[in-house]
């Protein structure tokens, strides 16, 4: 078990290194001189030269990478070109907004979709099953940002129940903050419930036809005991992987929902930085999001042996 944990953690390190190289390399492809970009259009040639030296751009590429990654490891992601703020606090503030919505949304989605998918699989081809398939396939096909706009139209503009844009941090009171995140979270719950329900259903069907399920029935266990005690753990393992995948990809994909509800989250920070050609922010955010994704996947893998003890063997 310890060996499994150590191996898995160690194997995440080369991935992180390659990710950082990829982010660094990607930003090298940008046409134009980074030093000139930093200074803007009005810079004099001498200033640009000085900036190049200051940024280390006169050194070989490998040295530049090592300087950058060294700074990143001490928490120095550089400064934003457009606002001059340090990138790290910018990212952390935005992350707290995104993470709240994503975690709450995916948690509720899983809470609804996993039991729905499993029950549908247990009564395969019953009207209830067909209903779950239909609803989840439709939800899967609606883009989250359009769903968000529709909710906004219905609950914000027509019924006027909920605020249309913006957000309030939870530090300023629970209720005001909650009111602002209801719509974005609902959007996420609806759009992520589809794939999770389908996965839970597919893996439960796979497990339900295995012999140990019949064996559990032959012991005299009730249907619900067979399902929750014997099928759940085995069927949930692939669904957990999907939930990890959804959590991670939302950190990149949340940008569209943050755009709909004008939330100052991580996705919006990245997109705005791309518009503004604010490359230190783009570089920092991409590395940050990718690193979180690697960590999420690591956590999922470390949880896996609790569901399937064969993995750690």
């Amino acid at each position: 078990m310890t060996r499994f944990i150590l191996t898995r953690i160690a194997s995440a390190i080369p991935t992180l290194i390659l990710v950082s190289i990829a982010v660094f390399g990607l930003l090298r492809f940008i046409p134009g001189d980074p030093a000139a970009l930093m200074l803007g259009d009005l810079a004099k040639p001498g200033q640009v030269e000085a900036m190049r030296v200051q940024m280390g751009l006169d050194k070989p590429v490998v040295a530049q990478y090592l300087i950058w990654i060294g700074n990143v490891l001490t928490g120095d992601f550089g400064r934003s070109i457009s606002t001059g703020q340090d990138v790290l606090p910018l990212m952390l503030n935005a992350f707290s907004v995104s993470a709240t919505i994503v975690l709450v949304g995916v948690f509720i989605a899983a809470l609804i979709a996993v039991p729905a998918g499993m029950l549908a699989a247990w009564r395969q081809n019953s009207p209830g099953d067909v209903g779950v398939i239909a609803v989840s396939t439709i939800l899967l096909s609606i883009p989250s940002f359009w769903l968000g706009l529709m909710l906004l139209l219905a609950f914000g503009l027509h019924l006027r129940w909920l605020p249309v844009i913006g957000c309030v941090p939870f530090s300023q009171g629970f209720w005001p903050a909650l009111v602002y995140i209801v719509l974005p979270v609902t959007t996420l719950v609806l759009s992520e419930a589809g794939p999770i329900a389908r996965m839970a259903r597919a893996s439960t069907i796979e497990v339900a036809r295995l012999e140990y399920i019949t064996h559990a029935r032959a012991k005299g266990l009730s249907e619900s005991a067979v399902m929750w005690r014997h099928a759940f753990k085995n069927a949930f393992a692939p669904t957990l992987t999907l939930i990890g995948f959804v959590l991670g990809s939302l950190l990149g994909g949340i940008a569209v929902i943050e755009t709909v509800f004008t939330l100052p989250g991580l996705g919006r920070l990245l997109v705005d930085a791309i518009y503004a050609r604010d490359y230190p922010v783009v570089q920092g955010t991409m590395l940050f999001v990718a690193a979180i994704y690697v960590v999420v996947n690591l956590v999922v893998d470390l949880l896996y042996p609790f569901l399937d003890p064969r993995v750690a063997a």
Partner: protein, 551 residues
């Protein structure tokens, strides 16, 4: 068996049991009748598709969708009809009164739940026992089935045990509840011969001690005759014969039973066919095969030696059988000879040459072929049968399309398939037909040497017999040398000229077939022979004069 023979003390009475695919659909089981008295044992014997497993499952109401029992069916357990009982009452019977052991020990214990929990579940449910009591009983049972370190076993997961151990644990967990009836569905089919014997002995011991009745489902008449006094023979959903095992075996009334008996392992007539006279085709000298270990950051798997310095020779026209349990290295050795595995050291000479040069290798490949165990995965699903069989010929540049076609047609008739099969795809064929195609592909290029890697162990008994006869017949015609790899002494006895017994990567005994089987020298060979449960020769010989003499 008819209704008049209904016994007074019968615990389980099955009357007109009919199972269909959906109401009124195709009949899987057709009007089956049998009785089982308390503490007695009965076996249902049949081949795949005979309906025997579904008949057994219906006793617990465990038919998979969309199978249903027809309304006229009655399954009376202690006087209650299980087909019409309400689910709650049925669950009280399952586990507590009727226990069930399944075929595949690898998939019938839940991989995510500890052994202790899986054993405790039934006790908690049916006997309402406390934690300490459950633990004591589980430990006592594990000790009784001779599990080392029972306390540790309770917290372990199924994947930490071998197939035989899992089957023992499964048996223990079912018998822990002291059911009145145990249904065992092919409990040993997936196990090695030696382990099969252990598990069956254990089953009989545990059930006899508690006075539990046994309903055994099996395809193996030979094994059944050793353990079970009464037998029902099923074919295509119908019970075609039933009665005491000894009578059914001695004087089978029905044609199908006779064929089933014929298919039982028996020594091929005629004895030796000049073994040792042909010229050596394959010479294996001091071959060692290691599976390399892996070095990773935090884990290291040791290199494992699968074959320890083996010598053997296979001559043209003879069949050498390589026999051993799984993990003995027999398959690895066979694969090394045809070049799928590279030996770590030692020589494998083929027709006198070692063939290290690539050009030689191509040449010698055409002279040696392999037939695999699983006829479902050994044929490319996207190719037509004629293309599959013709493929080895495409490597022979001297052959044109017309010559190939006529050779393929000839081979079709040699393996007993109609040439119509040529246009079909593998999934349209039965297991036996596929194995014929695999054999046709192996012999179409007239090879000097064929490795048959467990070629019949995935097939039904009557089909096994046909395939074994086919191999022998083809060998007589084409005079190729054959290495027959198998765990099954019964099959080996029918085709081999010589037998080599392998244990832990070494050949412990090698000799003429009759010497090895009648006068085994090594203790391991004797163990294997005992476990093989070759059917009593008295029953196997259908010659009436011999039967009379035996009586």
């Amino acid at each position: 068996m008819d209704g008049t023979s209904l016994m007074r003390n019968s615990m389980l009475s099955v009357r007109d049991l009919t199972i269909t695919i959906g109401p009124g659909g195709k009949r899987i089981v057709d009007a089956l009748n049998f009785d089982l008295a308390s503490g007695d044992m009965i076996a249902i014997v049949g081949e795949s598709g005979s309906g025997k497993t579904m008949a057994a499952r219906s006793v617990l109401g465990l038919l998979p969708q969309p199978l249903v029992t027809a309304p006229e069916s009655q399954i009376l357990f202690k006087g209650n009809d299980i087909t019409s009982i309400e689910p709650r009452a049925l669950r009280k019977i399952r586990g507590a009164e009727i226990g069930m052991v399944f075929q595949e020990p690898m998939v019938s214990l839940n991989p995510a739940v500890t052994i202790g929990e899986q054993m405790a579940e039934g006790l908690r449910l049916h006997h309402k026992l406390g934690k300490a009591e459950i633990r004591d009983r589980s430990l006592a049972m594990l000790e009784r089935i001779q599990i080392k370190e029972p306390a540790k076993c309770l917290t372990a997961y199924p994947h930490e045990f071998s197939g035989g151990m899992r089957q023992r644990i499964m048996l223990a967990s079912v018998m822990l509840l002291k059911p009145r009836l145990l249904i065992a569905d092919e409990p040993t089919t997936a196990l090695d011969t030696l382990v099969q014997r252990d598990v069956l002995d254990l089953m009989v011991e545990l059930t006899q001690a508690d006075g539990t009745a046994v309903l055994l489902i099996s395809h193996d008449l030979g094994m059944v005759s050793h353990y079970i006094p009464n037998v029902v023979v099923m074919s295509e959903g119908k019970a075609i014969e039933s009665g005491p095992s000894s009578e059914v075996l001695r004087a089978p009334k029905h044609d199908y039973t006779r064929r089933l008996l014929d298919a039982l392992p028996r020594r091929s007539a005629g004895g030796m066919r000049g073994g040792g006279c042909g010229k050596p085709v394959v010479e294996v000298r001091n071959v060692v095969i290691d599976y390399p270990g892996r070095n990773r950051l935090f884990s290291r798997t040791e290199a494992k030696r699968a074959v320890h310095g083996v010598d053997l020779t296979v001559r043209s026209g003879e069949t050498l059988a390589l026999v051993g349990a799984s993990g003995s290295g027999k398959t690895t050795l066979g694969r090394a000879i045809v070049g799928l595995v590279r030996p770590t050291s030692g020589q494998i000479a083929f027709l006198g040459a070692e063939g290290r040069r690539p050009a030689d290798r191509q040449e010698r490949h055409r002279e040696m072929q392999i037939v695999f165990q699983d006829p479902y995965s050994s044929l490319d699903p996207r190719q037509r049968i004629a293309d599959i069989i013709a493929e080895p010929l495409k490597l022979d540049r001297a052959m044109n399309a017309a010559a190939r076609a006529s050779r393929v047609e000839q081979v079709f008739s040699e393996v007993g398939l109609s040439p119509d099969f040529g246009r079909r795809f593998p999934h349209q064929l039965s297991g036996g037909q596929r194995q014929r195609v695999a054999i046709a592909r192996a012999i179409v290029g007239r090879p000097a040497f064929v490795v048959a890697d467990e070629p019949v162990s995935a097939l039904d008994m009557t089909v096994q017999k046909q395939i074994l006869l086919l191999i022998r017949e083809l060998q007589a015609r084409h005079n190729f040398a054959c290495l027959f790899v198998s765990h099954d002494l019964g099959a080996v006895e029918q085709v081999a000229d010589r037998i080599a017994v392998m244990q832990d990567g070494r050949i412990v005994e090698i000799g003429e077939r009759d010497d090895v089987i009648d006068r085994p020298q090594h203790p391991y060979t004797r163990q294997l022979l005992e476990a093989a449960m070759l059917i009593d020769r008295r029953f196997a010989e259908n010659d009436p004069t011999k039967q009379a003499m035996a009586l």
